[in-house]
Symmetry: C2
DNA sequence: ACTACCCGCGAAACCGCTTTCACGGATTCA
DNA sequence: TGAATCCGTGAAAGCGGTTTCGCGGGTAGT
């Protein structure tokens, strides 16, 4: 009554009349096996419903078929649908390539936390990092030769594979859109300026200003942190200090929503008096009132690109960083 | 210049002057080893910075230290912050217990999809299911003796471990809150009625009605699907058919937001003319205008409970289903 | 025709840890 | 004091694949 034991190479080999070595060759796509024998092996495999034991395979070959997805933070970050979406994109690509995703949500910080240990102990074939606060662990893992992919532009310019949204371009086109609709005095509420993404979006904003032949007035650049509260607070301050502000580019939708809330409370018409553009095109951009004009980033594609970059590295193929284009989505707010 | 090979039992055993068997015993907490020898082993381990090779361990013991988290859906579901949050809660608990989380986002459906194969092939020690559409795979896995946990109440009443929010209680207190604030005609926009959660929230609503001594008028029960669009559409229909509706309980915040949008567009004051209560207490409940009164469920706790239930099963301990309480969060909308 | 090579294939070592089994010595019981 | 029991321990047999090594036969070169 015991579960029918899963077949092993031994039984495949016997029923196919070949050696275990040959079974292994066939199952691993070694083409130096005579077609006829390969066929016999394949038949035996099919007939017995054989599925390779990945653990044994991993031990012998040193490849585990596992890729770590490391989210450098405590629980809060993962509540952001952004990461969930990226992760599912990664997961899909990996699964298509016979790899599994090992999820690790933890502050990464030091070189000898449990995450670091795990990654260094050879239990995964590669690692993909999200929301990385520091490059220190990266560099150390890189030395070990572990294939790595980072989502987001890394701080230091080491030769690590990464995927990112075109934050600069997004910031640029958001700002330009505001200006071309007549906004003269466009403010920006940045994200956490410690992140490269926030920095790049700001650069795009500055570039658009430059192209317009103007200079952002002092105080129009507000350093936020991607939170709803920051969006509200900075919008209040902006309106107080610059009552003639007529455009706001918020570095994410959540802050844009914060700004929208303040504007509504003050009875300021959007977009008639102040135009607002967000970034992300998250769900809240579609459901806000007025619906938010925003910069869409293709989050699933980001995840898939990260997965593909990992696959490429594992296969020893060439790769280069992926920068995904953004798209201006025009709704009611600007 | 090769990376210093990781030590194995062989070298630990030699430097400690004991056999490999003894090393294994010490490292696995077998207390039948003489303390002095155990100490010597421990010293050798520390000195050499030994870390057990989990793959080899898995092969020999049949325990992989991996728990699958299976999300029965395509990419879209994971975009819901709910699942990300639950997952991180699970992950944290598992990690604390030396287990890793293997994430699988895929439609589960049949008994022989790739997910099913993976789970059945002994590469994980247990599986936790989210958003399960059918119990068929569950039953089949249960037979194999694989430890299972389901988040959400399963359809069939098999003896599978599960964790869930008190949906009934939440629906009940949402409805009661609306009524005790004076609402006479309270409608409900349900979630996807195929889910047990939506069903239970509806039951809570009905129970509250029963307790009030009234009966919901025909047409006050609208079958939605958790989407923003459904919230809007049903709210429109409600207002048209029952202009005197003065309370709406939406089965999630997103539909509540849809209702709010319609109400604003029609110039109906919230909460003065119509009170609205949502469910979840997600980010959008805090950022909507007016801020949404809603039923909070502790999503992180849900994940942690799922993780703990898995641990208990792995340890052969007794367990029983976990139902987490909800909390009424009163904001501006009701 | 003889040596040199190449090629497909099986035997066997190996990956690193777990677990069974049996042994020697100490302890207990009669 | 002899037999029965118990205990800590090491030798060794796996776990189920992968990979090296070398053999035998066929092909090619001279």
């Amino acid at each position: 009554m015991a579960a029918p034991a899963r077949p092993t190479y031994a039984v495949i080999a016997k029923t196919a009349g070949v050696s275990e070595a040959t079974v292994s060759r066939v199952l691993n796509g070694d083409d130096s096996v005579h077609p006829e024998r390969a066929r016999r092996v394949q038949e035996a495999v099919d007939k017995l419903g054989y599925k390779k034991n990945r653990v044994a395979s991993a031990l012998a070959s040193g490849r585990t078929g596992l890729i770590a997805v490391v989210i450098d933070d405590d629980l809060s970050v993962f509540a952001d649908p952004f990461y969930g979406t990226v992760t599912s994109g990664v997961s899909r690509i990996l699964m298509e390539n016979g790899l599994q995703t090992v999820l690790m949500v933890s502050p990464v910080g030091s070189l000898d936390g449990s995450v670091a240990h795990y990654l260094k102990s050879g239990e995964v074939d590669g690692a993909i990092f999200f929301a990385l606060h520091s490059d220190i662990l990266i560099n150390s893992l890189k030395k070990l030769g572990l294939p790595l992919v980072i989502t987001g532009t890394p701080h230091s310019s080491s030769d690590v594979a990464f995927v990112d949204t075109d934050n600069f371009g997004g910031g640029h086109s958001a700002t330009k859109h505001l200006m071309s609709n007549g906004a003269k005095k466009v403010a920006i509420i940045t994200g956490d300026i410690g992140t490269t993404a926030a920095k790049q979006r700001l650069d795009g904003y500055l570039q658009a200003y430059r192209e317009s032949g103007h200079v952002p007035a002092k105080g129009l650049i507000c350093e936020g942190d991607y939170s709803f509260e920051a969006g509200k607070a900075h919008c209040e301050k902006l309106l107080d200090a610059h009552p003639d502000v007529d455009g706001i580019f918020a570095s994410n939708d959540l802050m844009a929503l914060g700004a929208l809330t303040v504007l509504r409370d003050r009875g300021i018409a959007v977009p008639e008096q102040v135009r607002v553009v967000g970034f992300d095109d998250s769900l809240i951009a579609q459901t806000s009132a007025p619906a938010l004009t925003t910069i869409r980033q293709d989050v699933v594609a980001l995840g898939e690109a990260a997965g593909s970059l990992m696959i490429a590295q594992l296969n020893g193929q060439d790769w280069e960083p992926v920068i995904l284009p953004t798209e201006l989505v025009i709704r009611a707010s600007a």
